[in-house]
Amino acid sequence: MHSVLLDTSFFIRLLNDEDALHKNAKDYFKYFLESDIILKVSTISIAEYCC
């Protein structure tokens, strides 16, 4: 795997440790960074997260 596109729900779950899927998001985030997988995010997701 070379790169992944992260959707808005990923950021919401990653940055809220009370979310039911928080641990999954965090583990994926760690795995992507440790495996040198490029993380990509669209401007739409950034706009949605900042709403």
């Binding site: 809220n16 440790d17 965090k26 040198d36």
Partner: protein, 259 residues
């Protein structure tokens, strides 16, 4: 069918009162042509390309290049299309630049160039001081660009630049301000950086002119997992998402549209 083919670039003109011939054709002009031919034939695959051999002949001056037949067939089709459309805007950047270089040479020296291949003797592509094989500038616009990679070189006496080794674009040379490098207190070499740069981008194909890149900013980029740092961000952000169901929230925001 032959495995090899030829490209002939014939140059017609004068050196003062003398007709152009290999005897009065300067070595710098030969070097310039040799630099262009690789970009004409193999713009994207220089590393694994077949061998290109060279010969210079009388008449006025004929540059003869011999290489694999596949590249000659491709090049012949390109010549036909450029001739038909009278434009080089559709070409890949390096091929377009090589044709532009020959056009500029024609303007400067008042030379006529006739280019043909062994595939089609009747197709002669002409570049002369009256032709205008120059890219339409307005399809190349300034764009802010981001690159990520390892910085492998920084400095230079007159042409100050940095070299960034990226996975996506290979090795990039980015023009830099000398003072910007001078002000950097830590060692930059062999560290990962994000680069914010300005450069020319083709608005139709998205292609980037790698020779036009100028550094705007080095971005500290540490793609290592840092649990402590992430937890501090979670601590700051979580209050905003208390009690929010992401699926429902996004569904409401997107109005039922699934991205």
């Amino acid at each position: 069918m032959e495995k090899f083919g030829n490209i002939e670039i014939r140059v017609l003109g004068n050196k003062g009162n003398l007709k152009l011939s290999p005897d009065n054709y300067d070595v710098k002009e030969i070097i310039s042509m040799l630099q262009n031919i690789e970009n004409l034939l193999y713009p994207t695959n220089k590393k694994d390309r077949p061998i290109i051999t060279y010969d210079i002949q009388e008449g006025s001056v004929k540059h003869i290049f011999k290489t694999g037949i596949q590249a000659i067939i491709g090049f012949s089709a390109i010549l036909a299309q450029v001739q038909k459309t009278n434009s080089i805007d559709f070409l890949e950047l390096k091929t377009a630049q090589a044709i532009e270089n020959i056009q500029n040479f024609s303007y400067q020296k008042n030379y006529d160039f006739e280019i043909k291949t062994s595939i089609d003797d009747e197709l002669i592509f002409r570049i002369n001081p009256n032709s205008k094989f120059i890219r339409t500038e307005n399809i190349w616009v300034d764009a802010e660009l981001y690159f990520y990679g390892t910085l492998t070189d920084a400095g230079g006496k007159s042409k100050v630049n940095i070299h960034l080794d990226t996975e996506e674009f290979g090795l990039l040379t980015i023009t830099t301000d000398k003072n910007y490098l001078k002000e950097q207190e830590k060692n930059l070499l062999y560290k990962k950086f994000g680069i914010r740069a300005i450069g020319k981008q083709n608005i139709e194909t998205g292609e980037i002119d790698k020779k036009s890149l100028k550094l705007l900013q080095l971005i500290d980029f540490k793609p290592k997992y840092d649990d402590e740092y992430l937890n501090s961000l979670i601590h700051k952000a979580k209050a905003n998402w208390k009690g929010v169901n992401p699926d429902e929230w996004l569904n409401d925001l997107r109005g039922g549209y699934d991205a």
